[in-house]
Symmetry: C2
Subunit: 180 residues, 2 copies
């Protein structure tokens, strides 16, 4: 349901075509709210029909540039300021944890170790992003920094937890599996 709001948010910063929007989704919002082409173009049409967006320019190849309307801004603001985020957490990773006793302790420890490594490598990636990105203090970069820091802390927590959990199950076996 918040795809529309993600799009309104991006278009509030600057007008874009569907194609541009897709690229902006891929670079900045992939980790937070992924979107496919069909979804974006479909929603673009709906939002325009609803008066929250309008076509402000047409270019080559049938390009249509969309901009947010005052109604769109109002809707966006309303969403941000007056509604609570939907907190429906669904974690396949955690679901598996509930059934870990169906595996041998060795397999279970291997699962948790893999999780730990995945988290560690994600964390390393984010750490690199943090250093590479120009924090030139546009308004987006402040928010981006907050989100990045969240990812950093989350992946750190996940790694620690997974290592701890592996130890709970495997005891000495955890160290063995972790090494390999």
């Amino acid at each position: 349901m918040s795809l529309r709001h993600a799009m309104l948010g991006l278009l509030a910063e600057r007008p874009s075509s569907g194609y541009d929007l897709m690229k902006r989704f891929e670079t900045s919002l992939t980790n937070v709210w992924p979107a496919t082409q069909s979804q974006v173009y479909g929603e673009l049409g709906k939002l325009a029909k609803a008066g929250l967006l309008e076509v402000v320019a047409e270019g080559p190849r049938g390009r249509k540039e969309y901009a947010i309307t005052p109604e769109g801004r109002a809707e966006l603001r309303h969403w941000l300021a007056e509604t609570r985020p939907d907190r429906s957490r669904r974690s396949e990773m955690l679901l598996r944890v509930f059934f870990l006793d169906l595996l041998t302790p060795l397999e279970a420890v291997a699962y948790l170790s893999t999780e730990a490594e995945r988290a560690a490598s994600l964390r390393a990636d984010l750490e690199q992003v943090k250093e590479q990105v120009q924090w030139d203090d546009g308004p987006l970069s402040v928010n981006g920094r907050l989100a990045l820091e969240y990812g950093l802390r989350l992946s750190a927590m996940q790694e620690e937890w997974a290592r701890w959990a592996a130890e709970q199950i495997g005891g000495t076996q955890a160290a063995e599996a972790g090494k390999s």
Copy 2:
């Protein structure tokens, strides 16, 4: 896609009717993989047709008790041991963070503070669960403990992050004010 596996997992522990299964979902898996009635009953039929489950008893009110078959167990094990969890993270909470500059600093700080409080209260709840639950060392309670600990660490991290983020914005605001 993993609803089927969640159901297989629960039925691997003990046979249940759809109604029972619903209650087990609500008590143990709500926070990890919520499911609705229509979903559970629908999937029950599909899994039985596919030979992963079978009806082992019929009771009063049309009650049908389902048990996992060897094929079902094989599928469950395969899922657990030989596939990687789908990690599609979608966070409306974080999406909002990207657009926080559309609010006044005061409103943004309010948003983050609310998040911090929500995390803190969740953490308190989980802490209580931790103490109330009988950790009688069934096989489920080991896994349950791991999952609970994850929730504990996650909510702690979220609270810290939200407080930190609120400070970042408040601090920026102070700096701006100082400049002018």
